[in-house]
Structures are given as structure tokens and as C-alpha cells.
């Protein structure tokens, strides 16, 4: 009984965290496609304000992210539904 209660608590916690993250991501990513706005502005929209040197360095990271996103889209076109 104790174990079941613990498991239920753990499950609720996990679902809560996951749902919270997904909601946040939907909310703050929807307006940005990761390509059309500058890296500085994109990060600023998340409240992140790296130095100019850091922003320049993160351009490389953004390219890597774009490659990853392209890869998961290219192999599986799972449609809109």
C-alpha cells in the first residue's frame, strides 16, 4: 500500500513536470521558427542575454540544432495528424 502510494506520487510528479515543460515549450517556441530572427533576439525572447562574443559562438550551436531538426523531419514524415 505504501509502495503504491509512493508510485502514484512519483507518477503524478513526472506527469506534472512533463506537462509543464510541454506547455512552456509550446508557449515560448511557437512564435519562433529558429531561422528568421537573429540568434540574439531569439535568445532574448527567452530572457537570455549572452555577451556579444557568446552570441557569436552560439551561432554554431544553432546550426547544429537546425541539422538535428532537419534530420528528424527528413527520415520520418509523419504527416500533420
Amino acid at each position: 500500500m505504501v509502495a503504491r502510494k509512493e508510485n502514484e506520487t512519483a507518477s503524478r510528479h513526472a506527469i506534472h513536470c512533463s506537462a509543464k515543460c510541454f506547455t512552456l515549450n509550446r508557449g515560448f517556441l511557437t512564435d519562433h521558427d529558429g531561422v528568421k530572427i537573429s540568434t540574439e533576439d531569439l535568445l532574448a525572447s527567452f530572457g537570455l542575454h549572452p555577451s556579444a562574443a557568446e552570441v557569436a559562438a552560439l551561432e554554431d550551436t544553432r546550426k547544429l540544432a537546425a541539422e538535428m531538426a532537419k534530420n528528424i523531419q527528413a527520415e520520418f514524415d509523419l504527416g500533420d495528424s
Binding site: 505504501v2 509502495a3 503504491r4 509512493e6 508510485n7 506520487t9 512519483a10 507518477s11 510528479h13 513526472a14 513536470c17 512533463s18 509543464k20 515543460c21 510541454f22 512552456l24 515549450n25 509550446r26 515560448f28 517556441l29 511557437t30 519562433h32 521558427d33 529558429g34 531569439l42 535568445l43 525572447s45 527567452f46 530572457g47 537570455l48 542575454h49 549572452p50 555577451s51 562574443a53 557568446e54 557569436a56 559562438a57 552560439l58 551561432e59 554554431d60 550551436t61 544553432r62 547544429l64 540544432a65 537546425a66 538535428m68 531538426a69 534530420n71 528528424i72 523531419q73 527520415e75 520520418f76 509523419l78
Partner: protein
């Protein structure tokens, strides 16, 4: 030899809980100044608990992990102290035990301290921050791996026989491979994550590190709680098991260590000798699922840290900033696609697991990374910190020599175990994955290999 009899493999005498804890604390006192495996030690409370347990033994109370000293990764809540996650921006946490920790305690384990991690289980050691880097007992100039760095280092050095860790992209398996110990990432849902400060709630898993698969199985029996049936391992007999092997040769630009090929061949020979049918397979959509796994992790990690990262940007490690920022570069459509890919590939993997009982892949093709390779500032070489941001992020998601992210996006349990040494004396590791809730299969295969080899019992000469 069970953990409760003797963590040091002696069955001819009984060690009291006080003796065990004293030995562990003395080892920590002697070795930790060089290793930095522990960030906090709970010497006094550990001794008090050991005395209480010794009295309980006199009353005939039997506990499966009686008197076993354990280290807890510094991302879990414990009653002795809140987790700091190796960060100047520690997580919001309570002074209570995480569920996994409380289960270890109820089984008689004694918490001797918190073990080092990477900042918030992401990023890499940073020489600019006031946290000593966790070192590898096999070579102090090498990293212990991450993010359950101190847990693996402490087990390898013999400070504790068991440690608790977590795994979101390889954080149990990479340090286990780098330090030459065994780790088990359980099927999702077996071990609760309550009380773990998450990196990615969808992918995080909690599991044990120990010297052997048999010991990991014992600890998993405790971590799984009262409703989780104790596991019976195969005892070295693998007849009837079909084991697929994928060396993932097409998925890395890294040249493997010269010892890697022979070590993997030997592994396959031993498993065949144990009666298993061993043959080559190809994991479905390896690169794609690995990328999907990273995207989910990066988006969730940023979601969790966004507010504090915004307020305290410079207090985070440079490498952590690089990793967390990357979550901003994915759209909600891409996150949704990553989750759909995860479900889709799981279906392909289920089909593979209808033809094989387990799949073996490398954890790493090379030995532990040097600190200088992680960050030139460790070698006192001039370097601009901002240049480390993309490098850290790239390493985090690509990490060409390491092959762990794939499994985090699946429902498979995975056991990582040592299979030999590199040409320059660093441990090499393999991982065996099985179908959902078939943890005993993964652990049995590792156990069978360990019954016929002694890699898992090797101790670093620095600390032997």
C-alpha cells in the same frame, strides 16, 4: 556474494555496520582530496545510523542492504542536506529523502555522502567555478565521465560499493564505462524520480552503480519498492537467449581505441560460450532517434532552467549555458516531431525485440576524456570561455565517441559494464539493452560475462 554479506567479497567473517562505515569514511578521507568524488560527507550521521543498525541486528532484524555504505549523486534530496547540483544556482529542493534514497535506507543502506556531478547533470567541469572536477581513479588527469561522475569514481576507487545516479543521455553509463564499473538504467517506471532534481522529466531515469551486475540487481530489487519482484539472474547460463550486436560503425567519425575491437570480439565469444546465440543486427533509425532524444532533453532542460538562467546567466557554468541555450533553437513543431519519432521508433524497436532478447552496443569507443580536451583552461592554456559554449553543446549532443542517447528515448533497460582496457590503461565499456521491463535479461547477460571474466573486479592501481 551479496552486498549485505560483504562488499569486499569476504564471506569468512561478518563486518559490523560500524566497521563498514568506518572503512568507507576512512577511504573517503584518504582518497577524496585527489578524486573529488564527494561534494558532501555525512560522517557523523552515518556513524550514528551504523550503530543503530548494529543494535537492530542484535534484535534479529534482517535487511537486504544491511550496513552497505552508499553515495548519492548530488541531484537527489536527502534529509542530511539539500542537493546543490554542483552549481552556484542550486535547485529548489526540500530537506527530505528522495523516494529512491528512502528505499535504500529502509533496506539498511547507510548514506555516507553526496557525490559530484556535472552542473545540474548537464555541461562539463569548469575551472572558473568553485567546484573541484571529479577525477578518474584510473588516471587523475582524466574525467570520470558525466553526469554521475562522483558516483562512478567513488565505486571504482572502492570508497563505497554502491552509489545512486541518474541517466538522461548517458549519465549512468558513460561514467560507468570511463571508470570501469557497472551501472543499470532501469526500465522507465521501476525506480521513482520523485526527489530527483530533473534535467528532462520525460527521459530521466534513476539507477544504481556498483562493481558488478549482480550487485546492481540486488540494489534494483530495493529501488523498485515493495511491489517490484526480486529478480533472479541466469547464473551464467544464457542458453536460449538471442543477442544482437551493433557496433554502430557507421555512426561515428571517431577512430576507436586499438583495444576496442578485440575487447568487443572477446565479449561476443564469452557470451557464445555461455550458450547465447550471438549475431549482428542493425538498430533502427539510430541517428534519428539519438537526435530526437537530444531535442527532447534540451527543450525540457531549458524549460526547467529558463527563469534562473535568465536571472543568473553568468553564475551557470559556461558549458551548461551552451547546452541549455540550445533548447531555444528548437520550435514547438520540432519538439512535437521529436516526440512522434520517439514513439514511432519504439515500434520498430519492439519488432526488433521480437527477434532478439537483447542488443549489445558500445558505450564508448575510447577511454575517458582528458580535462585538457574538455576545456583547455584545465591545462592552463589560453582559451576564450565563450568559445566553449558551442563546443560543449556539440559534445553534449554529438559526443561522437559515446553511444548512449538512443536508449534514453526508448523504454529499454540498459546495463553498462566493463569489457577491457584501452591501449593506455583506461576502462572500456559495453551496454546491453533489453525489451521493456526485461531488466533481468540485461543484467543476466552482463552477469554471465562477469562470471567468466575479471574486468569488473580490477581496481585502479592508484587506490588498490
Amino acid at each position: 556474494m551479496t552486498l549485505a554479506i560483504s562488499e569486499n567479497g569476504r564471506s569468512d567473517e561478518y563486518d559490523s555496520c560500524v566497521e563498514r562505515v568506518t572503512r568507507s569514511l576512512q577511504a573517503a578521507e584518504r582518497l577524496n582530496p585527489e578524486l573529488n568524488a564527494f561534494v558532501s560527507r555525512y560522517d557523523e550521521s552515518a556513524r550514528v545510523v551504523a550503530e543503530e543498525l548494529d543494535r537492530a541486528v542484535c534484535l534479529g532484524r534482517g535487511l537486504s542492504l544491511l550496513g552497505v555504505p552508499v553515495g548519492i549523486k548530488d541531484v537527489f534530496e536527502t534529509v542530511e542536506g539539500k542537493p546543490r547540483a554542483q552549481s552556484l544556482v542550486p535547485p529548489a529542493a526540500q530537506l527530505r529523502d528522495a523516494l529512491a534514497v528512502s528505499r535504500l535506507r529502509r533496506a539498511g543502506a547507510i548514506v555516507v555522502g553526496k557525490t559530484a556531478t556535472t552542473e545540474h547533470a548537464a555541461g562539463f567541469p569548469d575551472p572558473d567555478k568553485p567546484f573541484a572536477p571529479p577525477r578518474n581513479p584510473w588516471n587523475l588527469q582524466r574525467w570520470a565521465g558525466g553526469s554521475s561522475s562522483g558516483s562512478a569514481s567513488a565505486v571504482a576507487a572502492g570508497i563505497v560499493p554502491v552509489a545512486l545516479g541518474s541517466d538522461t543521455g548517458g549519465s549512468l553509463r558513460v561514467p560507468a564505462a570511463f571508470c570501469g564499473v557497472t551501472a543499470h538504467m532501469p526500465s522507465p517506471g521501476i525506480v521513482p524520480t520523485d526527489g530527483l532534481f530533473p534535467l528532462s522529466p520525460e527521459l530521466d531515469r534513476v539507477g544504481p552503480l556498483a562493481r558488478s551486475a549482480a550487485h546492481c540487481a540486488e540494489v534494483l530489487g530495493v529501488l523498485g519498492g515493495e511491489e517490484f519482484k526480486p529478480m533472479t539472474l541466469s547464473g551464467g547460463d544464457l542458453r536460449g537467449l538471442r543477442i544482437g550486436v551493433d557496433l554502430l560503425r557507421n555512426h561515428t567519425d571517431i577512430t576507436p581505441d586499438p583495444s576496442f575491437g578485440p575487447a568487443f570480439e572477446h565479449l561476443q565469444e564469452v557470451l557464445s560460450d555461455c550458450g547465447a546465440e550471438v549475431f549482428d543486427v542493425s538498430l533502427p533509425s539510430y541517428r534519428t532517434l539519438s537526435n530526437a532524444s537530444s531535442i527532447i532533453m534540451l527543450c525540457e532542460a531549458l524549460a526547467l532552467h529558463r527563469s534562473r538562467l535568465s536571472e543568473r546567466w553568468v553564475d551557470y557554468y559556461g558549458s551548461t549555458r551552451g547546452v541549455l541555450s540550445m533548447g531555444a533553437f528548437f520550435s514547438s513543431d520540432e519538439l512535437a516531431q521529436a516526440r512522434r519519432v520517439k514513439v514511432h521508433v519504439q515500434g520498430l524497436l519492439d519488432e526488433l525485440f521480437s527477434r532478439v532478447d537483447a542488443v549489445i552496443t558500445p558505450v564508448s569507443l575510447v577511454g575517458a576524456t582528458s580535462f585538457g580536451d574538455l576545456d583547455p583552461r584545465f591545462d592552463s592554456l589560453a582559451s576564450q570561455p565563450e568559445l566553449l559554449l558551442p563546443r560543449a553543446a556539440r559534445a553534449m549532443v554529438e559526443f561522437g565517441a559515446v553511444h548512449t542517447r538512443y536508449w534514453n528515448a526508448t523504454s529499454s533497460p540498459v546495463t553498462a559494464f566493463p569489457i577491457g582496457f584501452t591501449h593506455d590503461g583506461l576502462p572500456l565499456g559495453a551496454q546491453v539493452a533489453a525489451g521493456y521491463f526485461r531488466d533481468s535479461v540485461a543484467l543476466s547477460i552482463a552477469e554471465a560475462f562477469q562470471e567468466r571474466t575479471s574486468w569488473h573486479n580490477q581496481k585502479p592501481y592508484l587506490f588498490a
